[in-house]
């Protein structure tokens, strides 16, 4: 029973990923004059997707905090690094 739920969960996550991707692609085609809102949507979208994969497929949600810490810290610093280079 509980196993079945887990399978459903994985499937749901997958569907969510697909939907978000579809939304992202459509958004990228919309003829915005100002690109900023579009960029924001896309960034948020990809962040959502990444966190979905990491939380459920990589089991960060139920696993030890250590793993989350050890990958979260690089993620934050890495984002900072990239932001630095935008300037």
């Amino acid at each position: 029973m509980e196993k079945l739920l887990r399978q459903q969960k994985y499937l749901l996550v997958f569907v969510a990923l697909v939907i978000i991707t579809a939304v992202e692609v459509t958004v990228s085609y919309l003829p915005f004059t100002d690109r900023t809102p579009q960029t924001i949507i896309l960034v948020i979208g990809s962040l959502c997707k990444a966190s979905l994969v990491m939380l459920y497929y990589m089991h960060l949600r139920d696993d030890s905090r250590w793993y989350a810490l050890l990958v979260g810290f690089p993620l934050v610093i890495g984002v900072l690094l990239s932001v630095t280079f935008v300037l």
Binding site: W66, L70, F73, P74, I77, L80, L81, T84, F85, L87
Partner: protein, 547 residues
């Protein structure tokens, strides 16, 4: 090995024990010794190069070496001393000690551990051999586009550093995993020796910083071999990009080289002062703070490049804030010694030297963190002096404190205390006479990495060169002491210093599987002092040889 050497058994056993060090061993102790031994080989090379530099600079005008050779030597000296001597020496020490300190039988991934050593060896050979194929002559910072235009040796240098990067990333992963998963039962994080804390902080820096440098090195390699234009302005590239990627690793590299020394101090000082470490948690947290802040200061090497203040100014502030945790460490060490019963033996002397030199590194560091001041200091001998105070005065002194302190445990012999003290006195005095005048030289107009200089700097440079040769000589005293004592020194007891951390509960040198089948008594490792609260332990003063 303690068995009588007369019987063939003893001899064969001894020979076997020597051969281990030339094999693909997975024993963390053997690997640790391999690391340290190799690093000392490279140290000798680095010293020879330094002597050549000082010989060239002893008098103005082109003397001993020509400009090409000089730039090559400067580049190789920096690279060897940082990547092939100091970091490997400290990693080797940690490799030997950390598993013992946490009561583990070995590292978490013994084969990976061996692999990282042999990768390091390959990297070292690549970097040194590159010198033959037209030396890399862009300095150890390898600023593009000078480096992308340079001779073939530069490519060897790049590939060598990439391999070295893999080696240290694997090593770092191994350390963190070991400390997190292999601690003896009951050994909580807040009972870890501070050396382990500092190694943890150091390895975080390694596995965060090195990949970025590796990315940059790949780009530079592509620029040289595939004709990409990452750093070449003619193709629309940006030379400053390299500086960002390089310093993102190479500033943390400074803390990578200093943190283990700080850890060693936090071990040695309480033992030789017979007093608990002062403010354990603050010291542990300051290590973590240094490593986190250390990742956010890289642009302070680029204050003269004209990069946006929006990047430079925040990094100036973070650079200054790093002075706070480092200050906490220094004050805590002083407070630990205050009211103690200091046994002034070589390890403690090196700790005192560390504090004294590190003070200068710190003060000039804060000065260089301030953008307007640094604009004048940048790329001058002031900076050369500062970085040697940090890496040599602090990093190397800390390494020596650790090496002397754990020498009995590693070799099973006592080093010669008299030689040790001579070594300290010589290296401390020569060090300060060598590098102190460089502050003045830099401020008054001597840029770094010049083969020639104006006559008014002749006197200062001559003094520096002479004292530099003495400094180089002082290392020989150490090496003589090291090998003589290892071969013929008096047998060391299990715990010559009366220390309380786990590694001293083992025989010296420790058996192959460390704690296999032993009871591990976990306790707070700084439980010195009378009356010792909690434990009924009445510790006795160190009875080291010559003490």
């Amino acid at each position: 090995m303690a068995v009588d050497a007369a019987t063939g058994v003893g001899i064969r056993a001894r020979r076997a024990s020597w051969l281990r060090y030339f094999s693909f061993s997975t024993d963390h102790k053997v690997i640790g010794v391999q690391y340290m031994a190799m690093s000392f080989v490279f140290l000798l090379l680095g010293i020879v190069l330094a002597m050549l530099i000082r010989a060239e600079l002893a008098a103005p005008g082109v003397g001993v070496v020509n400009a090409r050779l000089y730039n090559g030597i400067v580049t190789l000296h920096g690279t060897v001393m940082i990547f092939l001597w100091l970091i490997p020496a400290l990693v080797g020490l940690a490799n030997y000690i950390v598993p013992l300190m946490i009561g583990a039988e070995d590292m978490a991934f013994p084969r990976l551990n061996a692999l990282s050593f042999w990768l390091f060896l390959v990297a070292g050979l690549l970097i040194v051999l590159g010198f033959v194929f037209g030396p890399a002559e862009a300095g150890w910072t390898a600023y593009a586009p000078l480096s992308t235009l340079g001779p073939a040796g530069q490519s060897f240098w790049i590939i060598g550093l990439i391999v070295n990067g893999f080696s240290s990333i694997l090593g770092a992963i191994n350390f963190v995993t070991t400390v997190v998963t292999m601690r003896a039962p009951g050994l909580t994080f807040w009972k870890l020796p501070l050396f382990v804390w500092s190694i943890l902080a150091m390895t975080v820096l390694i596995f965060m910083g090195t990949p970025v440098l590796t990315a940059g090195l790949f780009m530079q390699l592509f620029d040289r071999s595939l004709g990409t234009v990452f750093f070449s302005p003619s193709g629309g590239g940006d030379p400053i990009l390299w500086q960002h990627l390089f310093w993102f690793y190479s500033h943390p590299a400074v803390y990578i080289m200093v943190l283990p020394g700080m850890g060693a101090l936090s071990e040695v000082i309480p033992v030789f002062a017979r007093k608990p470490i002062f403010g354990y948690k603050m010291i542990a947290w300051s290590s973590i703070a240094i490593s986190v802040l250390g990742l956010l200061v890289w642009a302070h090497h680029m204050f003269t490049t004209g990069v946006a203040p929006a990047i430079l100014f925040p990094m100036m502030i973070t650079s200054m804030i790093i002075a706070v945790p480092t200050g906490v460490k220094v004050f805590s060490w002083l407070a630990t010694m205050w009211g103690g019963k200091l046994t002034l033996q070589t390890p403690l002397w090196f700790c005192i030297g560390f504090i004294s030199n590190f003070l200068f590194a710190g003060m000039t560091g804060v000065m260089q963190a301030s953008i307007p001041l640094d604009v004048h200091f940048q790329d001058t001998y002031f900076l050369v002096a500062h970085l040697h105070y940090a890496l040599f005065g602090a990093g190397v002194f800390g390494a020596f404190a650790g090496i002397y302190y754990w020498f009995p445990k590693i070799t099973g012999r006592m080093y010669n205390e008299t030689f040790g003290r001579i070594h300290f006195v010589l290296v401390f005095i020569a060090f300060n006479i060598t590098y102190m005048p460089m502050f003045w030289l830099g401020v008054n107009g001597m840029p770094r990495r010049v083969a020639d200089y104006v006559p008014e700097f002749a006197t200062a440079n001559l003094i520096i060169s002479i004292s530099g040769f003495v400094l180089g000589f002082s290392f020989l005293i150490f090496l003589v002491n090291f090998f003589m004592s290892w071969a013929w020194g008096p047998k060391a007891p299990d715990n010559p210093w009366g220390a309380l951390s786990l590694e001293w509960t083992l025989p010296s040198p420790p058996p192959q599987h460390n704690f296999a089948g032993r009871k591990i008594v976990v306790r707070y490792p700084y439980d010195f002092g009378t009356p010792a609260p909690g434990s009924g332990h009445q510790s006795s003063p160190p009875d080291g040889a010559g003490g």
